[in-house]
C-alpha cells in the first residue's frame, strides 16, 4: 500500500528538551491515523513540520513521496489543513473568508461548501468576529474539507464543537476515509481517536512511544478488580501474583489492578469464599492517563510498530 506520510528521524529541537525528537513514522494511504499526546508533547510541532510551517533541526518528512520542505507547494495541493489555533480573520464575513481561501487554492466546488455548511450548520453570512469559538472551528473544518485532497491534516479538530457537530465531524472523517483520503488527526481526546481512527501513535515529551492499531492498544489495557470475601482477604497471596498491582485491603474488601490475564489471580481467589467479584475494563482514556500521569510512566513499548 502507498505511504501517505513518512518521517525519518524528524526532529525539531527548541532546546530545554522541548520539541520533537527522532520521529520515524509511516501512515498508509487511506488510513485514518490518530496522533495522541498531552499538551506540549509535540503533536502540533509534527503537523507544522509536515506543513512546512517550521523547519526540522534534522530528519525529513514526505507526503505521498514529496519532500515537505523541498516542494511544499506540491504537498499543499494534496492536503486539507485545519490548524490547531483559529486564525484571526477580523471583520471579514465567513463567505468572504471561504471565497478568499478558495481563490488562493483554486478547485473549490461551491456545492461542496454548501454541503459542508449545511451539515455543520454554519452561517457564512456573519462576520468572523461575531462567530462563537465553535463556529470558528466549523469554519476551519469547511476550509479543510472544501477541496478534494489526498490527505487531511487536522490538529485537534473537535476543540469547541458541540457533541452533535462532533458526530457530524466523525461522519465526515469516515466518508473521507471511505473515499480513500488519508486522515492525520491529532488529539488529546482518546474517545475521539477511538471513534474515528484505525491506528494510533502516542507521543510523549517529543518522542513517539507507541504506534498501534486500536486492538493492539487495547491489549495494553489493565483491569481493575474488586472482590468481597467471606473471610480474611488473602492479601499476601494476591500481592505475589504476577501482573497484580495496587493491592488495597479494607476489612473483607480487596481492590487491585490486573495486567495481562486473570488466570493466576483467579487460582488464588478460588481458594477462598468470594462473595462478590467485579472487574472494570478501563477506557482508553484511563490507559492514556496511565501513560502520562506518572512522570516515570509505565515502561513504554518500543515504537516498532511505527513502520
Amino acid at each position: 500500500m502507498a505511504v501517505a506520510v513518512r518521517t525519518e528521524g524528524l526532529s525539531k529541537d527548541y532546546g530545554e528538551s522541548r520539541g520533537l525528537f527522532d520521529l520515524g513514522l509511516e501512515v498508509s494511504a487511506g488510513e485514518v491515523f490518530g496522533y495522541l499526546g498531552p499538551n506540549g508533547s509535540g503533536k502540533t510541532t509534527t503537523i507544522r513540520l509536515l506543513m512546512d510551517m517550521i523547519r526540522p533541526t534534522r530528519g525529513r518528512a514526505e507526503i505521498f513521496g514529496v519532500d515537505c520542505h523541498a516542494d511544499p507547494v506540491a504537498v499543499k495541493r494534496m492536503v486539507g489543513y485545519l490548524p490547531g489555533e483559529t486564525p484571526q480573520w477580523g471583520g471579514l464575513r465567513g463567505k468572504d473568508i471561504v471565497g478568499y481561501v478558495a481563490g488562493l487554492r483554486g478547485g473549490v466546488d461551491p456545492a461542496r461548501v454548501r454541503s459542508l455548511t449545511d451539515r455543520l450548520d454554519l452561517d457564512l453570512g456573519r462576520r468572523y468576529r461575531e462567530y462563537s469559538s465553535g463556529n470558528k472551528r466549523k469554519l476551519g473544518l469547511v476550509l479543510a474539507f472544501m477541496h478534494p485532497s489526498r490527505l487531511l491534516v487536522l490538529d485537534e479538530p473537535t476543540n469547541g464543537l458541540d457533541p452533535l457537530i462532533q458526530q457530524e465531524f466523525y461522519r465526515l472523517v469516515e466518508e473521507a476515509g471511505a473515499e480513500g483520503t488519508t486522515v492525520f488527526l491529532s488529539s488529546h481526546v482518546l474517545s475521539e481517536v477511538e471513534r474515528a481512527c484505525q491506528r494510533v501513535g502516542i507521543l510523549r515529551r517529543g518522542r513517539l512511544v507507541q504506534v498501534a492499531g486500536l486492538d493492539e492498544l487495547h491489549h495494553l489495557r489493565y483491569h481493575s478488580l474488586e472482590a468481597d470475601f467471606a473471610g480474611e482477604v488473602p492479601a499476601a497471596a494476591v500481592r505475589a501474583v504476577a501482573g497484580v498491582e495496587g493491592v488495597s485491603v479494607e476489612d473483607h474488601h480487596l481492590s487491585c489492578t490486573v495486567h495481562g490475564g486473570f488466570g493466576p489471580l483467579l487460582q488464588v481467589l478460588g481458594r477462598e469464599q468470594v462473595l462478590n467479584l467485579v472487574t472494570h475494563e478501563p477506557t482508553l482514556e484511563d490507559v492514556f492517563l496511565a501513560y502520562f500521569r506518572d512522570p516515570a510512566g509505565p515502561a513504554p513499548v518500543p515504537a516498532e510498530g511505527a513502520r
Binding site: 507547494v73 489543513y81 486564525p87 484571526q88 488562493l104 461551491p110 454548501r114 452561517d123 457564512l124
Partner: protein, 563 residues
C-alpha cells in the same frame, strides 16, 4: 534546629504569602502597553519645541531680523489658521516656539489619546484580554479607571518631557521662561490629551469594534477641531467653540511673552475628561462585552451557506484591496482633502511669502522662483509624502498582525509559494499608493490653474510617481524588519519616518555633515516638482525596494510560522 540555605540562584518564596491582586497590576500593565507610543510622542514632544527654538535663533540673528520675521509670520498666520492657532509674538523665540513647536503637538497628543483609549477597550476586547480582566475580582469601573490612570501617568510624563524640550530650546535661545508658565502650558496640553482620551473611551463604548470606535471618536475630534479652527478665523464663534477641548487648550499661551494661563479653561478640560471617563466607566459596567452600549437587535437575515461570489476575492492584490476598501477610502479622501486645502491657499500664501524677505530662503529651498509653486512643492508634496509614509507603516502593522494572528499560517497552508505572499503585499501597497498619489495630484493639477498656480504636468506626474516609490521604500523596510523582528517593525519604521522628517531640518541647524541628509528618506524623495528628479535619491530608494522586498521574500521562504 537545621538551617536550610537556598541553593545559589534559587528563587526565594514571597515573604508576604500569596501574590496579591490589585488595580495596581493593571496600571503597570497599562503603562507597559503604552510604552512604544509614549516613546514616540515624548520624542516628538521634546524635539519639536527644541528644534523650533533652535531654527528660530539660527534664522534671526538680530533684533531687527526678529522684528521683521515676526511681522511676516503674523501676516502669514491667517493663511494657516485652519490648521494651527494664530501666531502670538513671533518676534520672540518663545512666541515662535509656542506657535511652531507646540501648537501642532496638541494634535499629536490627541491622536495618541484616541488610539490608546479605543485600543485599551476595543482592541483588548477583540483579543479576549478584557474577558480575562473582568473575571478577576475587580469591578469594571475600577478596571477602566486603573487603565485611565495608567494612560494619565504616561501622558503626564510625555507632557513633562515636552516641557523639558521647550525649556531647553528657550534656554539655548537665551530666552527665559518661568516654571509656572511651563507648568500652565503643560497643564493645558495634558488637559486636552485627557479630554481626547475621554472622547475615545466614550466612543469605544458606543462602537462594537476598534475601527468603528476610531472612526466615531475621530469624527467627533475632527468636528471639535474644525469648530476651533472656525473660531480662529471668526472670533464670533468663540462661545460655541468653548465646547471644543482644542479651543480650551488654545486659550492658554503661558510660555509666550505676555501670554496667559487660563485656569478656568484648563479646569474645564480636566472636567470634560473626568466626566467622559466616568460616563465611559458607567457604560462599560452596563454593556455586554464585545458589544456596543447601544446594541441593536440583529435583524433576521437569511442564512448563507455558499462562499462569496465576489470575483475580486479570487484575484491576487485586488482581493487585498477589496478587503481594505473602507480604510483605503479614508486614506484617499485624506490625501485629496490635503491637496485641496494646500492648493486653495497656495496663491495667497505664495504672495505673502514672496513679499516677505524672511521667507525667501523657504522659496529658494524649494528650488523655484514662484512662491506659490514652492508652497505646492514643499507643503503639499511634503504632506503627501508623510501621508504615504504613514500609510506604508499602517500596512506594515497589518502584515505583522496577519503573521501574529495566524492568518499567514492559513495562507501558507494553501498551495502558493511563500514569496507570492510578500510580492502580493508589496503590489497591494503599490496599487493603493498609486491611487492615493494619482488622485491627490489630479486634484492639484486641476485646481492649481484656478488659483493662479501653474504647474508643469510632467513634473507633477514625476513627483506623484516618486511618491509611490517613497511609499514602497518604507514598505520594503517594513517587510524586511518584519522578517526578523516583527514586534518592533512598526516602532522602528516610525523612527525612520520621524528621523527622516527632522534630519533635513537639523543638518543645517546643527551643521551636521552633508551625508547625514541622505539618511532621510524624505530627502531622497527631493523636490521633483521644482528641481526635477534627484537621481541619487531615486536609485537609493530603488535599491532599498529591491533589497527590502527581495530580502523579505528570501526570509519568508525560510522563516518559521506559528512557532
Amino acid at each position: 534546629m537545621t538551617t536550610v540555605t537556598p541553593a545559589p540562584g534559587a528563587v526565594a518564596p514571597p515573604a508576604s504569602g500569596p501574590m496579591r491582586g490589585s488595580a495596581g497590576t493593571l496600571v503597570r500593565y497599562g503603562l507597559r502597553s503604552h510604552r512604544w507610543a509614549f516613546a514616540g510622542v515624548a520624542f516628538l514632544g521634546f524635539v519639536s519645541p527644541y528644534s523650533a527654538a533652535a531654527s528660530y535663533v539660527a534664522a534671526t540673528g538680530t533684533a531687527a531680523l526678529r522684528a521683521s520675521f515676526g511681522r511676516q509670520t503674523v501676516s502669514l498666520g491667517p493663511q494657516l489658521a485652519y490648521l494651527v492657532p494664530l501666531p502670538i509674538r513671533p518676534d520672540t523665540v518663545a512666541g515662535y516656539t509656542w506657535w511652531k513647536g507646540l501648537t501642532w503637538l496638541t494634535l499629536v497628543f490627541a491622536v495618541w489619546a484616541l488610539a490608546a483609549a479605543t485600543g485599551l477597550v476595543r482592541n483588548e476586547e477583540e483579543r479576549g484580554l478584557v474577558e480575562t480582566w473582568v473575571t478577576q475580582p475587580l469591578s469594571r469601573v475600577r478596571l477602566l479607571l486603573s487603565r485611565s490612570a495608567a494612560f494619565s501617568a504616561a501622558a503626564l510624563a510625555a507632557v513633562i518631557i515636552t516641557g523639558l524640550g521647550t525649556a531647553a530650546g528657550l534656554a539655548d535661545g537665551k530666552a527665559s521662561v518661568g516654571f509656572a508658565a511651563l507648568a500652565g502650558q503643560g497643564a493645558a496640553l495634558l488637559g486636552v490629551t485627557l479630554a481626547c482620551f475621554g472622547i475615545g473611551l466614550a466612543a469605544a463604548q458606543l462602537a462594537s469594534t476598534r475601527r468603528s470606535a476610531l472612526t466615531l471618536g475621530g469624527a467627533v475630534m475632527i468636528v471639535l477641531y474644525i469648530l476651533d479652527a472656525l473660531a480662529r478665523v471668526n472670533p464670533g464663534l468663540g462661545g460655541v467653540a468653548a465646547i471644543s477641548p482644542f479651543h480650551l487648550a488654545d486659550i492658554t499661551t503661558a510660555v509666550v511673552p505676555g501670554g496667559r494661563f487660563d485656569g478656568g479653561a484648563t479646569i474645564a478640560l480636566f472636567a470634560i475628561a473626568a466626566v467622559l471617563i466616568g460616563l465611559a466607566a458607567l457604560a462599560f459596567q452596563r454593556r455586554d462585552l464585545m458589544a456596543s452600549l447601544l446594541r441593536r437587535r440583529s435583524a433576521a437575515t437569511p442564512v448563507v451557506r455558499t462562499p462569496s461570489d465576489n470575483p475580486l476575492l479570487r484575484i491576487p492584490v485586488l482581493s487585498s484591496l477589496w478587503e481594505q476598501r473602507i480604510g483605503m477610502a479614508g486614506w484617499v479622501v485624506g490625501s485629496i482633502l490635503g491637496a485641496a486645502f494646500v492648493v486653495s491657499i497656495a496663491h495667497s500664501t505664495g504672495k505673502l511669502l514672496a513679499s516677505a524677505s524672511g521667507f525667501q530662503s523657504f522659496v529658494h529651498a524649494a528650488g523655484t522662483d514662484s512662491a506659490a509653486t514652492a508652497v505646492v512643492s514643499s507643503v503639499w508634496l511634503g504632506i503627501a509624502a508623510l501621508i504615504l509614509a504613514a500609510f506604508a507603516i499602517a500596512q506594515t502593522s497589518r502584515w505583522a498582525g496577519d503573521d501574529a494572528g495566524g492568518r499567514l499560517e492559513m495562507e501558507i497552508a494553501q498551495p502558493v509559494p511563500r514569496w507570492r505572499i510578500v510580492a502580493e503585499r508589496g503590489l497591494t501597497l503599490a496599487v493603493a499608493a498609486v491611487i492615493m498619489a494619482a488622485l491627490g495630484s489630479l486634484l492639484t493639477g486641476a485646481v492649481a490653474p484656478s488659483q493662479g498656480v501653474h504647474l508643469d504636468a510632467g513634473s507633477l506626474i514625476t513627483a506623484s510617481a516618486l511618491l509611490v516609490l517613497l511609499a514602497l521604500t518604507f514598505a520594503a523596510l517594513g517587510a524586511l524588519i518584519i522578517a526578523a523582528f516583527p514586534r518592533v517593525a512598526v516602532p522602528l519604521l516610525a523612527v525612520v519616518a520621524v528621523a527622516g522628517f527632522y534630519i533635513p531640518l537639523f543638518v543645517p541647524l546643527f551643521k551636521w555633515p552633508g551625508w547625514v541628509l541622505d539618511l532621510s528618506l524624505f530627502h531622497l524623495y527631493g523636490t521633483p516638482l521644482t528641481t526635477g528628479v534627484f537621481w541619487t535619491g531615486l536609485w537609493v530608494m530603488v535599491a532599498i525596494v529591491v533589497v527590502g522586498f527581495g530580502g523579505a521574500m528570501a526570509a519568508m521562504r525560510v522563516c518559521e510560522v506559528g512557532r
